[in-house]
Every structure is written in structure tokens, then in C-alpha cells.
Amino acid sequence: MAGLDVHHISSGYGEMSILHDVSIRVEPGEVVTLIGPNGAGKSTLLKTIFGLLTPTEGRILFEDADVTGMKPPHLVRRGMSYVPQVDNIFPSLTVQENLEMGAFVRHDGFAERLDELYTFFPTLRLKRKQRVGSLSGGERQMVAMGRALMLDPRLLLLDEPSAGLAPRLVGMVFDKMAEINRAGIALLIVEQNAREALRLSQRGYVMAGGQVRLEGESGQLLQDEEVGRLYLGGRR
């Protein structure tokens, strides 16, 4: 099917095996959230999907093509994009140069795309000649997301997009992600801020110990007491 289809993936770092028999899917235009405790393997799953790690078992399909083990330069050309949790910008390059790097593999339509992105992130237009290293945390996260959007991806993988941001910025980030999704881009989000993320998404997976423990519609997961107690941090 079109969209992302992850079948029985096992993966890890060298000798250390982290993921065991993980299967998830993301329909086109969907927002799916991965939640769970630290060390559950959520980030590892994103990295495996995006080719930063090679799975030892299983297959990954994207838009009906087998992309298992494909590396970022190829996935980027196929409409997938990834925002890492840390080190997700080029600090000594300007905002505009960061965005330019996002469009590195395909330069046609760059000027239009850039303009679209600046409309989407007005602050960035103002600061486009500034070195990203000198920007605030929230602005840097916008650059990180903008960079990933330059090639018009159909699926965007985000690893803890709100991590380390002040509370009011967290809302801004989630608003932006909602806007991105409204443009038709599917999102696969790993988040510690589970409640907000589930509110944004249609479905969610709960991971722990390298496996998928629970899956369901976001609404159900939000109401599930067990999930609430373990992963959603009590009342909110």
C-alpha cells in the first residue's frame, strides 16, 4: 500500500540488539505517534526506517517499494525526510543555507519552495542571513523542520520535536506540525510529550523494551487508564 509499512523489524547498534519484531504502518497523510519510556527503541526505529541503521531482520516498504536498508540519499529522493532529535541543524551556516542543504539533491523549483517555506515560518524569513548557531532553541527547531520540508516529502519522521523547548514553544511546534499535516504530509512522531502528540495524531503505538506493546486510535490510547498511568504522566 502507499504510505509506510514496517514489517517485523529487528535492529540495533552493532552487537547490541534493540528492536525485536516491530511492525507499524503510516497511511498517506496520517499522523502517527510513537510513545513509551526511554530506551524503548522509538528513536532506533526512526533511524532504522531512514537508513541510519540497517535492520537485521524484516522489511520496510514505502509507497509500495521495498526500501529496507536504503540509505538517506536515496530515501530523500523518494519523498521521505527526517528531523533528528539533537544536532539537527548546521550551526555555522545561515538559515537560508541550512534550507539550501535540505534541497541539495534537487534544486529545481528551489526559489519557489524557499518562498513557501518562509511564508510558513515568517520568523525565518526575517533571520535568513543569520547563523543558525546564534538562534534560540525554538527558532533552531523551526530551521530543522524547514530543512526537512524543502523537498516536499510525503512522509516526515520527527524525533522528539519538542524536546528541550520552553512550554509555550512546545505549543508552537505542535501547531506547526498540524499545519504541515494539513498540507498532506504524513508524520511519524516520536514524542515524550505523549498527550499533546496523541491529540495531534490519528493513531499511536506504545513501545517498550524494543517491541510494540499497544496500538490503537489516539483517542482510545488517551483514555486508556494503563497507558495514562504509565506513559502519559498522570493528570494534565
Partner: protein, 301 residues
């Protein structure tokens, strides 16, 4: 003293060329390239071969250039030599450093391999040309009298202008071209560069081409100003690294400034110390730096 400082700038600009290449390799390929000095030597000797043997044998005339001690043929040889040295560096990378990188070897192993390469390159030069001092030209060109009682040979003015030109071209390349920006991005964050789909193979190749080309040019310029000997590059290694660290590893601007400072300091030191102590002066600057500000002027890491 002014004269010492002016000559220090000339020497410093040669060091800067080498240091810029070295800092690019440091920042993008992330290891200490100990064979950089010997690439300078290689560049210088290749020009000797081209300008004194191959091109004359092919009937290319010298094409003297006014007050300079060499002609357009030499300039052509210089450019060719930059290309040849770049190719040699690329071959070495393909055969030696690339397999090590694929194995995720530590930067120290890469540095050790480059140390071995330094000795290999030097021994080849010794084998082909022998240990004696050689010169591009035996002509003595009179110095120009400039204001402030400064006397500069025309060759030295050429060196300053040429270095300025190369630095400018490099700046334009790094700041204005897509590949240049990709190189800067890779230096900042190699994994993110990969995530963006930047072709790290191409970036690596261009880094070597630039680094080696600049080193070759530096070697030739030194040969024009002084003389050629097989260990000339090795004796530049200390000033090169000192300049890179002074400027901040990975910063071409830092390497430029660092190189100029090192050149001036080394030259001024000859007012108090024997000229043979110049490398030791570079070493002292380095040690001082490590105590006071190891990050350097424009350094990040």
C-alpha cells in the same frame, strides 16, 4: 623590524595556504593530516620537473614575466602541479584512508596512516631528486624599494598577490557555490549532511583536491622564495599545525589569520634567535596556545 614583519607576512601567507588546506581536511575529514607538509614538497618538486624538464622538452618557451624570476611557463606548471598533487591525494585517499574510514577507524589510526604516507612521499622525492638543495632559478632579481624602508623582491610581491587570489577564490567557492556550502555543512555536522542526501564521497574528493592543491601551491611559492629540499614540507608541519590550532580547527579564516601571525612571529624571532630556530618558535607558540586558549581564535570544538 618593519622589514622583518613584512617578510613575516610573506612567509605567513605561505604558511596560511598550507594551513587552510590542513584545516579543511581537519574540519571535514576529521583527522590530523600529517602528510600535508610532504604534499607541499611534492607540489614544489613536480613544478621543478614540469618547468625545468618536461615543458622545455616539449618546446614550451619560458615566457618571462617582467621583473619576476620566472615566466608564464612556471605559472602554468604551478597550476598543473596543483592538479597533479590533487590527483595524488585522491589516489592515496582511495587506497588508504577510504578503507580505513569504511572500517570506522579512529582518527588516530588515520593520523598514523598519514604519518606513514609522509615518509613514503618524502622517500620517493629523495629517490628521484636526491638530498641536495635545488632551485627553480639561479637568477638574482633585485629587490624593489618600497615606502617605509621596506624592500621586497618582485617574487615576494607575486607570492602575496597569488595567495590573496587563491584565498579569494576559495572564499567564493565556500560561500557561493552549492558544493562549497555542502563542504561547510559536512564540517559542521557530517551525519546531518548525509541525512540531507549530500554525497559525502564528492565532498571528500573535493576536500582533498582543495587541500592538496593549496598545499602544492604553498610548496611552490616557498620554493620560489627560498629553495627546494626534500624535507622542506616536514619542517613546515609545526607552523602549519600551530596556525591551524591558533585559528581554530576547521576555520579557513582562522587558518589564514593564524598563518600570517605565525609567519610574522617566526620572522620577528630571528631578531633575537638564530633563523634555524623558527620551527621551535612555532612550537613555542603552539605550547602557549595549548595553555591559554586551545580552542583558538575562531574555534568551535
Amino acid at each position: 623590524m618593519t622589514e622583518l614583519m613584512v617578510y613575516g607576512v610573506v612567509l605567513g601567507s605561505i604558511i596560511a595556504l598550507g594551513a587552510i588546506g590542513l584545516t579543511l581536511l581537519y574540519g571535514i575529514l576529521r583527522f590530523a593530516h600529517f602528510a600535508h607538509g610532504d604534499l607541499m614538497t611534492l607540489g614544489a618538486y613536480v613544478v621543478l620537473f614540469l618547468n625545468a624538464e618536461l615543458l622545455p622538452a616539449l618546446g614550451v618557451p619560458e615566457l618571462k614575466l617582467g621583473p619576476l624570476s620566472f615566466g608564464a611557463r612556471m605559472l602554468g606548471s604551478l597550476v598543473l602541479s596543483m592538479g597533479v598533487t590533487a590527483v595524488v591525494a585522491l589516489v592515496i585517499d582511495r587506497l588508504l584512508y577510504n578503507p580505513l574510514r569504511a572500517r570506522k577507524s579512529s582518527p588516530i589510526i588515520l593520523a598514523m596512516a598519514s604519518l606513514g604516507m609522509a615518509f613514503i612521499v618524502r622517500s620517493v622525492i629523495y629517490l628521484i631528486w636526491g638530498p641536495q638543495f635545488l632551485f627553480y632559478s639561479q637568477e638574482l632579481r633585485p629587490a624593489w624599494e618600497l615606502p617605509l624602508e621596506v624592500r621586497l623582491r618582485p617574487d615576494q610581491v607575486f607570492i602575496l598577490v597569488f595567495v590573496l587570489l587563491l584565498v579569494l577564490l576559495l572564499y567564493l567557492f565556500l560561500q557561493r557555490t552549492k558544493l562549497g556550502k555542502a563542504m561547510r555543512a559536512t564540517a559542521d555536522n557530517p551525519q546531518l549532511a548525509w541525512v540531507c542526501g549530500i554525497d559525502t564521497g564528492r565532498v571528500t574528493a573535493w576536500t582533498w583536491a582543495l587541500g592538496a592543491g593549496l598545499a602544492a601551491a604553498a610548496g611552490v611559492l616557498y620554493g620560489i622564495d627560498a629553495q627546494l629540499r626534500p624535507d622542506m614540507g616536514w619542517s613546515f608541519l609545526l607552523p602549519l599545525f600551530a596556525a591551524v590550532i591558533l585559528g581554530g580547527i576547521g576555520s579557513p579564516l582562522g587558518a589564514l589569520v593564524g598563518g600570517l601571525i605565525l609567519g610574522v612571529v617566526q620572522q620577528v624571532s630571528t631578531a633575537f634567535l638564530l633563523p634555524t630556530y623558527k620551527p621551535a618558535v612555532a612550537f613555542l607558540v603552539l605550547i602557549l596556545l595549548l595553555f591559554v586558549r586551545p580552542r583558538g581564535l575562531f574555534g568551535g570544538t
